[in-house]
């Protein structure tokens, strides 16, 4: 199986590579069009700021490439937010694969939302083998609103979208590469799609 991790100007992409290595899966970190197009699975990780990430993707036409992909695709953290339509982070138009708006958490409680929080309302093959309300690790200030594409929610101040799915596109707000056995199970289930 060929797994491509999209390389761009977002931090922490190597953690995903290491997580796959621990699962015995060799992946390549690449921005080469052909390698990405021919991969069996594509992972779109990221941590950082949305507008500079979108600018980088557009400059290299990676935005159009991502939209046209047909194989199972997994956005992680900022990767999930960028698959949505728009984010409040520097008022940025995103890829628009999901007609969902990304908003900033209100300052009622501490922001960013940091730590281990539980997944609820889980409905997807990605969660095969997991117990109810498993914990995943979060670090984020922006969240995707609830939508018909939401396949799991998490509660922080209010419910928000933990994972989404539409056709070949899946995405997660938490960091599966840093979420212990639960994260490994989600990654394994994605690779088995």
């Amino acid at each position: 199986m060929k797994v491509a991790i999209i390389k761009y100007n977002a931090g922490n992409v190597r953690s995903v590579l290491y997580a796959l290595e621990r699962l015995g899966v060799e992946a390549v970190l690449t921005d080469d069009f052909e390698t990405i197009q021919k991969a069996d699975k594509v992972i779109f990780p990221g941590q950082g700021e949305a507008s500079s990430a979108m600018k980088y993707l557009k400059q290299r036409n990676l935005d159009q490439l991502i939209k046209d992909l047909k194989q199972p695709f997994f956005g992680v953290c900022l990767g999930q937010q960028l698959l949505c339509e728009h984010t409040e982070e520097n008022d940025t138009e995103c890829l628009g694969i999901f007609p969902i708006k990304v908003k900033k958490f209100p300052a009622f409680e501490k922001v960013p939302h940091v730590g281990w929080n539980s997944l609820e309302n889980m409905d997807s093959p990605l969660f095969k083998g997991l117990d109810e309300e498993p914990y995943t690790y979060y670090v984020h200030s922006y969240y995707a609103e609830l939508s018909p594409y939401t396949i799991a929610t998490t509660h922080y101040m209010h419910d928000f979208t933990a994972l989404i799915h539409k056709e070949n596109f899946y995405a997660i707000q938490a960091h599966p590469e840093k979420s212990g056995k639960v994260g490994e199970t989600i990654l394994k289930n994605f690779l088995a799609l």
Binding site: G11, N12, R14, S15, Y18, A19, E21, R22, Q47, G48, E49, A107, K110, V111, P112, H113, V114, G115, W116, N117, S118, Y135, Y137, V139, H140, S141, H155, Y156, H175, E177, K178, S179, G180, K181, G183, E184
Partner: protein, 253 residues
């Protein structure tokens, strides 16, 4: 529901763990990677590696260690000790650290917090504050708590938060090593005052101390070293204890 975090801290010198570590499972008691793996399997929520190596050339050993840890464990980890420049942060994050912590360097040059937060994002910049109460007033100390400063802890904490720190690691020098419990008063004061998470450190001796710091101390996370290294408290039993007393924690076993 967001859970309270339990964070073991490993002191590192020249790539090896220091302070006695009493783990029968360990083939090599000085190997931080092996210890990190055990903690993550036992349910630690994060790990902190504090490098106490003095010389610059030995820092290479630390970077190699960070890379090994990043490959081996599946939970987040922070690296601190001697971090003073944007370049230091770049190297450590590049090697696979999730967060870095700065202490004395921030006191010396507060603007470095803004620079680091702008470059890498607040989420990976922890400012460690060593505090000591002197005649009823809390003062920031540097150099492992040995050097007093004229900064009041509350105003320094506010400043680092305003400058873009993502979390504060608060160590009470009055409590560190006493095993009589965390400094809940100042921890609670900072936690209520600031919009960022506070990690309580220094003084853990019994399980009830963790309960105290998560309730009275309003801490978001609690850090300890020797009680975990010497197996005085196991992480699974600590989490069971907290869970049974209404503190939300991530149970893994």
């Amino acid at each position: 529901m967001l859970t309270k975090r339990i964070i073991p801290c490993l002191d590192i010198k020249e790539g090896r763990t220091v302070k006695g570590v009493n783990f029968v499972e360990l083939k090599d008691a000085g190997d931080p990677v092996e210890l990190a793996k055990i903690y993550s399997e036992e349910g630690a929520d994060e790990l902190v590696f504090l490098d106490i190596t003095a010389t610059v050339d030995k820092r290479k050993t630390l970077v190699e260690l960070v890379e090994k840890v990043a490959k081996a464990i599946n939970i987040p980890f922070t690296v601190g000790g001697g971090v003073s420049t944007v370049e230091d942060v770049k190297v450590l994050l590049g090697a696979g650290a999730d967060k870095i912590s700065i202490n004395s360097a921030a006191v010396k040059n507060p603007g470095i917090i803004d620079e680091m937060a702008a470059e890498f994002g607040s989420q990976c910049i922890i400012v460690a504050i060593d505090t000591k109460n002197m005649d009823g007033i809390d003062f920031v100390h540097t150099h492992g708590g040995r050097k007093p400063t004229i900064l009041k802890t509350q105003s320094w904490a506010q400043e680092v938060s305003d400058r873009g720190a993502g979390e504060i690691l608060l160590t009470s020098m009055d409590h560190d090593g006493t095993k009589n419990g965390f400094a809940n008063e100042i921890t609670s004061e900072l936690s209520s005052m600031l919009p960022i998470p506070i990690i309580a450190s220094g003084g853990a001796g019994k399980m009830i101390h963790f309960w105290d710091t998560f309730t009275a101390g309003k801490a978001d996370a609690a850090l300890a070293a020797s009680i975990f290294h010497f197996k005085e408290i196991g992480i699974p039993e600590l989490k069971e204890y907290l869970d049974g007393r209404g503190v939300s924690v991530r149970r893994t076993l």
